[in-house]
Point group: C2
Chain length 370, copies 2
Amino acid sequence: MPVKITIDKEEKHTRARLGRLSTPHGVVETPIFMPVGTQATVKTMTPDEVKQTGGRLILSNTYHLYLRPGHELVKEAGGLHKFMNWDGPILTDSGGFQVFSLGPLRTITEEGVTFRSHIDGSKHYFTPERVMEIEEALGADIAMAFDECAPYPCDREYALAALERTTRWAERCKKAHKREDQALFGIVQGSVYHDLRERSARELIDLDFPGYGIGGLSVGEPKEVMYDVLDHLMPIMPKDKPRYLMGVGSPDCLIEGVIRGVDMFDCVLPTRIARNGTVFTHKGRLTVRNAEYARDFRPLDEQCDCYACRNFTRAYIRHLIKANEILGIRLTTIHNLHFLQRLMEKIREAIREDRLLQYRAEFLEQFNNG
Amino acid sequence: MPVKITIDKEEKHTRARLGRLSTPHGVVETPIFMPVGTQATVKTMTPDEVKQTGGRLILSNTYHLYLRPGHELVKEAGGLHKFMNWDGPILTDSGGFQVFSLGPLRTITEEGVTFRSHIDGSKHYFTPERVMEIEEALGADIAMAFDECAPYPCDREYALAALERTTRWAERCKKAHKREDQALFGIVQGSVYHDLRERSARELIDLDFPGYGIGGLSVGEPKEVMYDVLDHLMPIMPKDKPRYLMGVGSPDCLIEGVIRGVDMFDCVLPTRIARNGTVFTHKGRLTVRNAEYARDFRPLDEQCDCYACRNFTRAYIRHLIKANEILGIRLTTIHNLHFLQRLMEKIREAIREDRLLQYRAEFLEQFNNG
């Protein structure tokens, strides 16, 4: 089994787990937050910088890499790790979320999805088998199965059809997947319907994947609804397999997800808001591009020890962003990833010491009322 | 005297000099190439990265910083060094070149220049006295006098009027300049006319500046014309003062300038072409964004040991640039600055060993015919 989770501790008062995920490219501690490197680069950062912020496992996007530079080129380069010079583990999504987000640009049949490239409008066709071929060429440590991600809101009938297709496609993915140095994870769908989530989970568990993604959440539903889905779903997920909540990465959702038993997260949020000039601080979000910070000579977050906070002021970073200087968004990106990685570190520490609920209260008290 | 050059060696067969420039922020070896940090940042780079490429003295632009974020804000931050967290020496230009380049957006009188901001069209007024106030607020180690930079081509009459005004303004700058921890350099003008260049130089030498810029070159004239101007001008420049050839930075011009006795250079060329996907190699320029490099898994330059060449391939960097990923132009920028700094290092070594002409022949043989 190329990827395996070892649970070292279960927190006393919640479903949180402390573990180690072993992969062909090393062992990482869980719960873990994975920075997103959509196009084989975590936007604005070198691999060294990603590591310096505490990033250990990164996600890259199959849809984007398939279109550009092409999975065959990546394979020719020696695979994604070598191509982008990242020697830690990588997870690739399946492109399911992306192609379903294309809206009118795609057509779904039982066989697969026809879609048009967002880059040049060219026509393409993804089937579970084709996606496995692409993900194997990319060569990540973890490949995700090709799923149908239902939108929100979504009626019961549609959600049911999508989860059933997701199961059939998961089966086809499993059959097609050959690489022994790559783990294939299934993806649980079912929208916000508890019974559908349970059905999806049971069908996928029957297929015995080495890990499970939880898809179709954080797609527009209120956070409380997501937490509620997790409350019902997580108790039936296998204890000895990693659980990956896809596309979730705001500080509060990370804590709430861990409390409900999630081991892995990814999200573009920290890097995306950074490029808009917004940063996380222990007192909540701060939009450093705002005029009020023009003469603020304090660091982004006075409690932070990241490269940006050790060396530069809000006034300077604001100047850079206003002047369209790349260093500005490099610094906010470094800061935001560092912030989330420190948060995950503190979460793991709190699990170890059975005080995760207390940590949540302390963190949110400051973060929400700063 | 805050800034002073010590000449350690004069090359036997040329006018090249090996020296050390001492400044309030440390001593740097000359001949030196100064990377340009127009808006208080060398585009795309952290100060640490600039140092890692070998950058020791950087240039920043008075015109740009005056407009944004404003020299008073920089002063409030503790000066430019502290604002941008660069602890080495800095040189600020005077804005002369920028405001004269604004064309119809500016009006010149004997008193000063009225111009409109390229950012928001707002109206501004630069006089020699005002520019000194701004440069003192920025607090660089070296401030340049406010000059009138004649365009190319330029008739004799205009060139004469501009150099005469430049002398009068240099006098006013000298009178207005008060900071004792900052050196004020005069700027020699005179277009491509040997006698006017000589006249400008003699008038400025009479004012006894601690260093001299050579302005109004590399503004469109053929390289041979620039070399010819330097051939005639440099012999009359004081031996004990630094000579700074403004706005020059292509590899061949750096070598030719040093041969003629230049100590300092600056240019946006390496960073600007980097952002267009073009890099220097020992075999000449290479446009890595071109399709022919899509599957080229060699480094940018096989003889280079910069961070980009040690870690990434042409194929990867091309992918990043095609995909508009910032890491791409970060890597080409690092490479180009590293390339020029290594070139300067080899030039200094060749001066030390009295084989600069031989080095020029070897370098250009490969660079021009690669």
